[in-house]
């Protein structure tokens, strides 16, 4: 790793911990708007709870819309964080080291965002706890056969495990910060968070083992979570939802969108905090290659859906897909195809993969395309079901858009706080990449 040759252990600490300096005006300029939008989203939600779900654009037969789109979108975003931190960890892909902390943070905050939507979209959100199996005087339990309950378990497990994984990976780094900071309140907080980490060989021994197991758990978990999310749809009988390829299709799509989001997030961070030495072009090259792969899978899924719809001979199936490409929502469908399949194509060229600007633009299109993919799957399938008498068109209302914007703000709010409070680059693991200091060159 030639670019990193100028790095020393001490500089890693310096650079990473410097990111936690007092927030600048620029940071506030970003942070305050997020608070405002979160507030607006909250207002929309309260309005919705008070007036009824009717203030959203929902209508018969489109009972799920933007909220569930947002849910799937954010769960999808979450996925590449775990992919980068856990799966690539298991594969010992070194290009993950510099970005995995950001990616993991993204995971946690995205799940945190995603987890709101199942509650937001409920008709009676004040009863959301009925979805959890808890002993009650009614002697009633929950329906474990419902994919929504699988969701409850999958998402809450995912949130717990990814948050723990995020936190455990950070313990040594928090210790490093603890050792640096001098102001008393921060020192106390970091001291508590570091759990008294000292970096002894005994600690490292168990730590490495535990971390490995976490990675080993997180990998099947991440695959299961998006499979479960896909089963919310695939387990139903609705044309356009009821297909067997949904699990791998959704997982690939999730990784695809997550990588897009990682690039969207890291490019500005890299620039602002001058992390060029850490997040290198090689890193981006590696991610871009993964994007090509997942974009290919997603594109294949789009095509095979059409083929299967035609091959099934079912008028409802074929009607659904014909409708997607030609109906009222055709624009959305083609936005999805262009953003997710066509725009990533130039990444086959190495020079483009290493061009940060182009990569950044592509990543934004991927984010847009993947949002529309979820919208298309959810809304278009619902609007064109079995019975033509019950077909309908859905338009999101300002409340839904407000909550969606609020959810982005909510995510970025956490992310901005994260940037200023926790190490965005793994200090300990970066050091593993650096040449080990030896008095005598090792033979």
């Amino acid at each position: 790793m030639s670019e990193q040759s100028t790095l020393t252990y001490a500089r890693v600490n310096d650079d990473v911990i410097r990111m936690l300096d007092k927030p600048t005006f620029k940071w506030w300029a970003l942070f305050i708007p997020t608070l405002i939008f979160v507030g607006f989203g909250l207002f929309c939600f309260i309005h919705q709870v008070y007036s009824g779900l009717g203030v959203a654009g929902y209508r018969h037969p489109i009972f799920w819309g933007v909220y569930i789109t947002d849910f799937v979108f954010w769960v999808g975003i979450a996925h590449s964080g775990t992919l980068i931190s856990a799966i690539l960890f298991l594969f010992r892909a070194n290009f993950r080291m510099s970005i995995y902390r950001i990616a993991e943070g993204m995971t946690v905050f995205a799940v945190l965002t995603a987890g709101l939507f199942p509650i937001i979209h409920l008709g009676r959100p004040w009863n959301f706890y009925w979805l959890f199996p808890y002993p009650n005087q009614r002697e009633l339990w929950v329906n474990f056969k419902s994919p929504l309950l699988w969701d409850v378990f999958a998402v809450s497990t995912y949130l717990t495990v990814s948050a723990l994984f995020f936190f455990i990976g950070m313990i040594p780094d928090i210790a490093a910060i603890r050792d640096r900071v001098t102001e008393v309140p921060r020192k106390i907080v970091y001291s508590i968070l570091s759990l008294g980490w000292k970096g002894s060989n005994w600690e490292w021994l168990h730590y490495s083992r535990a971390y490995l197991f976490f990675a080993a758990f997180a990998t099947p978990l991440v695959l299961s979570v998006h499979s479960v999310v896909s089963w919310d749809f695939a387990m139903s009988n609705l044309p356009g939802w009821h297909t067997t390829i949904f699990a791998p299709y959704f997982v690939a799509g999730a990784i695809f969108s997550g990588l897009g989001m990682v690039i969207t997030l890291t490019v500005p961070i890299r620039k602002i905090f001058h992390l060029e030495d850490y997040i290198t072009l090689d890193n981006y090259d590696g991610m871009a290659k993964l994007i090509i792969l997942t974009s290919g899978i997603v594109g294949y899924a789009y095509a095979i859906e059409f083929f299967m719809a035609w091959y099934s001979g079912s008028p409802a199936e074929w009607g659904q897909f014909y409708y997607r490409a030609t109906g009222e929502y055709a624009l959305f469908y083609w936005i999805m195809v262009v953003c997710n399949v066509l725009i990533p194509l130039p990444l086959w060229f190495k020079s483009i993969r290493r061009n940060i600007k182009i990569l950044f633009i592509v990543s934004i299109f991927i984010n847009i395309g993947m949002w529309f993919e979820r919208f298309n799957i959810i809304v278009l399938s619902l609007s064109h079901g079995f019975d033509p008498a019950a077909w309908g068109i859905y338009k999101p209302s300002w409340v839904e858009l407000g909550i969606t914007v609020g959810s982005f703000a909510w995510f970025f709010m956490f992310f901005l706080i994260f940037l200023k409070t926790l190490p965005s680059v793994s200090i300990a693991e970066m050091k593993e990449l650096l040449p080990v200091p030896r008095k005598e060159a090792k033979t």
């Binding site: 009650n136 005087q137 009614r138 009633l140």
Partner: protein, 188 residues
């Protein structure tokens, strides 16, 4: 100081949980509402031994037991004006004749008596007294020993757990249990 907070937090948490549990599971209060007339079930059902159905006469033919009409009250109180004595009504001293004269007043004005409901079920519940009485259940099974109450109060928390426990215990066979635990038996 940190240690102090830690030590404090344990009992505080425990108290919160215990209080929560208490409110959750506590038997409902044995204080009934204040009614327009201090009508004592203890006198009517207890001392005078009137059977419940004497006044609540529709209990075996209708979902509703029926609240006696003023006319029904007057059926007896036309003649019974009550002793002019003080009576300890759940700790409040009342004059029996005074209270009975209130009934006569309502009757004279041809006004109904606006009783406050003591035992109420939510709107999404279709409870029928008829089936339960026909099955042979005693009123006291749900309403408690009304004959010993001056002011009637809700003896049990009439919640779903209460219903279900009884339904489960009293089912004759599996088929009946299925029916008695079928949601549509009570909710539609």
């Amino acid at each position: 100081m940190r240690k102090g907070i830690k030590i404090l937090s344990v009992p505080v948490l425990a108290i919160v949980i215990l209080l929560g549990f208490y409110f959750y599971s506590a038997e409902s209060s044995d204080q009934g509402p204040v009614q327009p007339i201090r009508f004592s079930h203890k006198i009517h059902a207890g001392e005078d031994q009137l059977p419940c159905q004497f006044c609540h006469s529709f209990v075996d033919v209708s979902p509703n037991p029926g609240i006696p009409s003023v006319k029904k009250c007057m059926g007896c109180h036309q003649h019974i004006v009550g002793r002019d004595v003080d009576y300890d009504f759940d700790g409040t001293t009342i004059n029996i004749r005074n209270e009975i004269s209130k009934v006569r007043e309502y009757w004279a004005n041809k006004e109904p008596i606006p009783w406050t409901k003591v035992n109420s079920t939510p709107g999404y519940l279709r409870f029928t007294h008829k089936r339960h009485i026909k099955r042979g259940f005693e009123c006291a099974q749900c309403h408690g020993d009304v004959a010993a109450m001056d002011q009637v109060y809700s003896a049990d928390r009439l919640n779903m757990g209460f219903c279900i426990t009884c339904h489960t215990d009293n089912a004759k066979d599996h088929e009946e249990l299925t029916h008695l635990k079928d949601c549509l038996t009570c909710h539609y």
